[in-house]
Amino acid sequence: MDLHAIRQEFPILHQEVNGHPLVYLDSSATSQKPRSVIEAVDSYYRQDNSNVHRGVHTLGTRATENYEGAREKVRKFINADSTKQVIFTRGTTTAINTVAHSYGRANLSSGDEIVLTQMEHHSNIIPWQQVAKATGAELKYIPLQPDGTITLEDAAKTITANTKIVAISHVSNVLGTVNPINEVAELAHKQDAVIVVDGAQGAPHMKIDVEDLNCDFYAFSGHKMCAPTGIGVLYGRKTLLENMEPFEFGGEMIDFVNLYDSTWKELPWKFEGGTPIIAGAIGLGAAIDFLNEVGMDNITKHEQKIVSYAMEKFQALDGITIFGPQERAGLITFNLDDVHPHDTATVLDAEGIAVRAGHHCAQPLMRWLEVTATARASFYLYNTEEDVDRLVEGLLKTKEYFGDVF
């Protein structure tokens, strides 16, 4: 993998921020976009823009072919059986809400249980809280080990005969923990429960095979994997999707409309009410082409190299707390002693270094960590060891700057 060549593909990286070359370490929030993705969206609007699935005219056909072509690229990317199982959504949040609404509310009742973990992002907690409130089902959490991982023993104890849904992140956006999806899926299936995987931090960084993972639903966002914002994917098992009612009703998703009743299109379109995010889907297709060209395994390997290097450097620093397990995905969440993460992020920003500071949409996890906020550096295929060096230098400056205070 030619890092220099890859970086050349990302125009945004080649700029100065506050007088310093930009170091972008916030890809877990959103990734940067390569030239090919920007151009795919641009070219769609310049040459092919039209609504899909209805125009008889040439542009309509082109737009439809490109939109459905992107669906096929996603199918291959996650190794789904059929494009019927690939539903375009606005992002991970909409994908999970679709399952919560169309599967959860329809199938759960009082006495049933929904099992989550304590490391979930708000988008994989709140939809289930709402299902629990609406149906009388109960929420249960698989507890965390001190290092921020779960054990299969705890998972097996928490998932019972009453469990109907297990909702779990593939990779924690805070801890970097990679969850054993396959094994948890087996536990869920043993109890006739379905497993919903929040893949927002998984799909961008590793090869995803939904068959291997044995998951029933897998949700992810385009914008964290080099595609535009506003496009995401819900993968689902065909039999489950077929038996689910649509989440949004209106144009594009209907078969036959009467005055008092209507019928729906077949999969996947029955879940895509309204004019879809056509340019976003085409951008996602281009992003998948780009990622495939680099190779997902190469991307994982590269991120592992960068995060190991960063962990080594971080662990050599005094007065820093690192959250999460030693073995982790490509991100490090941390706090400098006596410096609030906002202040850390502001000083780093003055050095041209972009990190995230806050609760990372995981307030329950923050409480478990006994902090109100943390800083996070997250890595992607375009980050370098020099980026890590700049970050460490920035952290030393932060400590120096705030050191006078205490």
Partner: protein, 145 residues
């Protein structure tokens, strides 16, 4: 932006309030209590005010947050203590104008150390940190009326 620019944000007097907050703690008895948080970052503040005859007799705060939010809370409690509620609200208005980078006329009201927070206006991401305690104060006063 260099460290010199950072100094416009983190003025010495701000760091002093952060390090040694004034009026930190809680009040006893019949007091107004307001809890407020900044949902985008997790900062939280509890503000307590003892109001008698339309005058803020005492004010204390507790909470967790960055240097800017905590220093701002410390400065605010100093500034509103002993003031009439109407003046406290005027100060709040002035403060939010200052955060918008507008010229302010304090009309003879004592702005105290708060002027040190002027530099925050140049850091848009941090304005919400500085205004959190003021929002808590306004909420408390409005709920009371």
């Amino acid at each position: 932006m260099s460290f010199n620019n950072l100094d416009t944000l983190y003025r010495q007097v701000i760091m002093d309030h952060y390090k040694s907050p004034r009026n930190k703690g809680s009040l006893e008895g019949d007091v107004l209590t307001v809890d407020m948080n900044n949902p985008t970052c997790g900062d939280r503040i509890q503000l307590q005010m003892q109001v008698e005859n339309g005058i803020v007799k005492d004010a204390k705060f507790d909470g967790e947050g960055c240097s800017i939010s905590m220093a701002s809370a410390s400065m605010m409690t100093q500034a509103i203590k002993g003031k009439e509620i109407t003046d406290a609200i005027k100060l709040s208005k002035h403060f939010s104008d200052m955060m918008l980078g507008e010229e302010i006329d304090t009309e003879g009201l004592d702005f105290g150390d708060m002027e040190a927070l002027q530099g925050v206006a140049k850091f848009p991401a941090r304005i919400k940190c500085a205004t959190l305690p003021w929002k808590a104060m306004e909420k408390g006063v409005n709920d009371e009326n």
